[in-house]
Assembly symmetry: C2
Homo-oligomer: 483 residues x 2
């Protein structure tokens, strides 16, 4: 019998999707996808009313269908939804509040519909302000699905059929101190930020040596698709100096990590005591409603205005989107969700660190607030990525009604970015189930580490390899036998 | 006393907006902007409950705050709003219905958040399918606010501080038979389509002569920002043939003109008896809610899939957006809005044609359904654009509580694209008020045509010139005296 929230049986949904939705749009759990019909707080429910703990949906920031946010959207929908060429209080209240949450001199907002649109506009602002073209991005970075964003996203343009790197794009190493170019085992921790920043400096020098200036350096303050990366402490301070010395502006992409997720601060860049020139934020600000924004300085906004070219985004900043965003900011403050993220995140990370003592496959646990990564490795010394094992874990966790994804260049990092209402009990439950599931993929002390690489090559299709997207993958048959 | 729908007095809204919203985002009626607090059907209401007849908002397609659309959005908001990596019936129902509204073989959909995102994806699909790069666009065209769209929008890149034309972009003349390159006075009407199409053919030949193929030809089926242009009858048939012969695909941008607006058909390209390879549609499909789509053939979607590169648009096709879009399509059908647009549009156009007999300033009346343009000229023979007069009309109409805008390269075309519930009475009222207002700007038969060009130069700032955007402008002091 169908749940009343279904319009057709699941198989029909799948068939219609195959027929009428572009197959470049991938499902989580491809071989056995989930049909979700409702959600509340940190839980999602399928068509059979099975409940799943959601550790994936950072976009449902203050919890799925938060009643205050829903009410604000519903009320405004019935009153007015039009473009921002008319004055409306919701828009200016939203902009004033965003500005109040950001350090000076970040005070001028542009409201848009998606993180991709925000990053695209950020680059246009940078170009108008600097009159330069060269952009520095990080290896494995992903900044959005638009043509202009793919140009600066090595995660996309470096794929086998990708568009390749453009001349004006420069890729700096991902500041990953665990498996990146400079590692914590090779350098004193206080030097790592300088080492990675020096690579950015070299790019700046190369650009200026050719008689050009830098347009922008763009990075997610904490890299998400790149593998839940927390750059070393002095990284941004040094990078921002080098970039500004070369005439560029610094763009912090806070689409995935902003709005209190990191717990100790409202924005992830504040962990590094820097102030970007442009900040982009995305749909967590609308709890899923398509609203996003760019916030910059008066000076940069002035340069853009001085081009005389209007910026018109039909529904960026419409009264409904702004009502929703205002409600989200209100809820974050009233429910103390930033502090909550800090407490729950600290608890989760400490429990995971304990877990790591019993599970050699856990090579690294890292995070800030409710932005957490668990890096699985086959060998702690060589730090060989445990890609197939991560895939297995993701599938098995789903069977245990926990939604989590894997990510990173080798797709071996379990990634947690749950709604901010995630509790201590949710964290404990996650850790307990992970404890059980990890035992399935770990070999006996007496066994050799199995050479799964060959098997992996056999079973992973090109589409799967591409799934270094935050896609939760299918269980691999060769691993099921381990359980 | 403030209306209860206001959070602050209008002056405070203006001050906050100046401080916190980028000034590249322009207001309608700059010197005396409207604060709109609610809207219903074809009417908008300001903070003093003054009612305005809305002839501008094509995005509020089935009428502002249509109760069925509002209810569908409200109900889904409270249940679930998540990304399309989970199965959901609303998404597949939306895609199936879109496919049913389009001719074969257009059957595969990609759901996105904005017309700009849709056009960006359309170009990516075309590139993946053809492996070519060269794009043909129309002069004065506007396809969106993204970097990739500005590249193919002469309306933007040709502005004084614009980014200029890229090598791979080719600009064909706007098929405007009234004031374009080939005019109805110079050629028999049956030849005009071929003449304009031959210019596209020449571009195709030039591209292939250089050893390349064409990637895509993109055009709004009826140009909107370009000045409410209806291309001559055989134009698209010939253009599509030339483009396909050169290896390219044909993209119909139906963002502004789709969903029954033209009355006789659901899509404007159907007026020309052609079938595009890719169609893009925008926010009218969500009645203002940020939802848009690309629809293409299995073959082209297959080429895109075969790149192996995933397309993920976080909130494109989320359950709320699709619930809203489904309700809009339902309302269009149930309320017979396409036929209504045909009837009201025909009436409006015939009344405007009558009006033209008494007002020599009306050089041309053209339209299809509720997509109507009134071109104002200072001289019917020379067809000199009456730019300042159009600006005056727009301002005076606002004083008479009618919202209409001017557009076109010379900003002399009054543009009507009202919500589809616009009535015969609304049309008559519009024509009657326009009759009065036009008398203010027309000179006595005994007078010379005034040389307003010099005055115009003195009063128009660079920002005003840029307002060939569909921006309703301020009244010019030198024209007020005429009233």
């Amino acid at each position: 019998m169908m749940d009343s929230l279904e319009q057709m049986p699941k198989n029909d949904t799948i068939k219609l999707r195959e027929r009428h939705i572009g197959q470049s749009c991938k499902l989580f759990y491809k071989s056995s996808p989930l049909k979700i019909v409702r959600a509340e707080g940190q839980y999602m429910y399928d068509e059979r009313s099975e409940r799943y703990l959601d550790c994936i949906n950072n976009v449902a920031h203050v919890g799925h269908c938060h009643p205050d946010v829903v009410r604000a959207g519903q009320q405004q929908m019935a009153l007015l939804c039009t473009n921002n060429r008319f004055l409306h209080d919701n828009l200016v209240v939203c902009a004033r509040r965003l500005a109040s949450l950001l350090p000076e001199p970040l005070s001028v907002c542009f409201l848009v519909n998606s993180g991709s649109e925000a990053n695209d506009l950020a680059l246009r602002l940078a170009q108008a302000h600097t009159a330069n073209k060269d952009v520095i991005t990080l290896d494995h970075a992903y900044h959005g699905h638009l043509t202009s964003m793919i140009d600066i996203s090595p995660f996309k343009f470096n794929q086998p059929n990708g568009t390749g790197k453009k001349d004006w794009v420069h890729v700096a190493p991902c500041p990953d101190v665990y498996r990146g170019k400079y590692r914590d085992v090779d350098y004193p921790s206080e030097n790592l930020g300088v080492k990675y920043a020096d690579d950015v400096k070299k790019i700046c020098n190369d650009v200026t040596a050719e008689g050009r200036g830098v347009c922008a350096y763009i990075a997610e303050s904490l890299m998400s698709v790149g593998g839940q990366i927390l750059p070393p402490q002095d990284y941004y301070k040094n990078v921002y100096k080098h970039v500004r010395d070369a005439g560029g502006v610094c763009i912090a992409d806070e689409v995935q990590v902003g709005f209190g997720r990191v717990g100790s601060h409202m924005w992830a860049f504040q962990l590094y005591d820097v102030i970007p020139d442009i900040v982009t934020i995305g749909k967590p600000m609308g709890n899923g409603h398509p609203v996003a924004a760019v916030i910059t300085t008066e000076e940069i906004a002035g340069s853009f205005r001085n081009t005389g070219i209007e910026y018109f985004n039909t529904y960026g900043g419409n009264p409904v989107s702004c009502a929703v965003a205002n409600a989200v900011m209100e809820v974050i403050e009233r429910e103390g969700l930033q502090e909550h993220a800090l407490n729950v995140g600290n608890h989760l990370i400490s429990q995971l660190e304990k877990l790591a003592k019993n599970h050699p496959i856990i090579g690294d646990v890292r995070g800030a607030g409710l932005f957490v990564g668990i890096e699985l490795v086959r060998d702690r010394t060589k730090r060989v990525p445990a890609t197939a094992e991560a895939k297995h874990v993701v599938s098995r966790m789903k069977e245990e009604k926990i939604l989590v994804s894997s990510d990173g260049p080798d797709n071996n990092i379990l990634k947690l970015k749950p709604p901010m209402v995630f509790t201590i009990e949710n964290a404990d439950h996650f850790v307990s189930v992970l404890d059980d599931v990890l035992q399935e993929v770990e070999v006996d002390d007496n066994d050799e580490i199995p050479d799964t690489t060959a098997i992996l090559k056999a079973v992973i299709t090109p589409v799967d390899i591409e799934a270094a997207t935050p896609v939760a993958n299918d269980v691999e048959p060769f691993l099921i036998r381990a359980s």
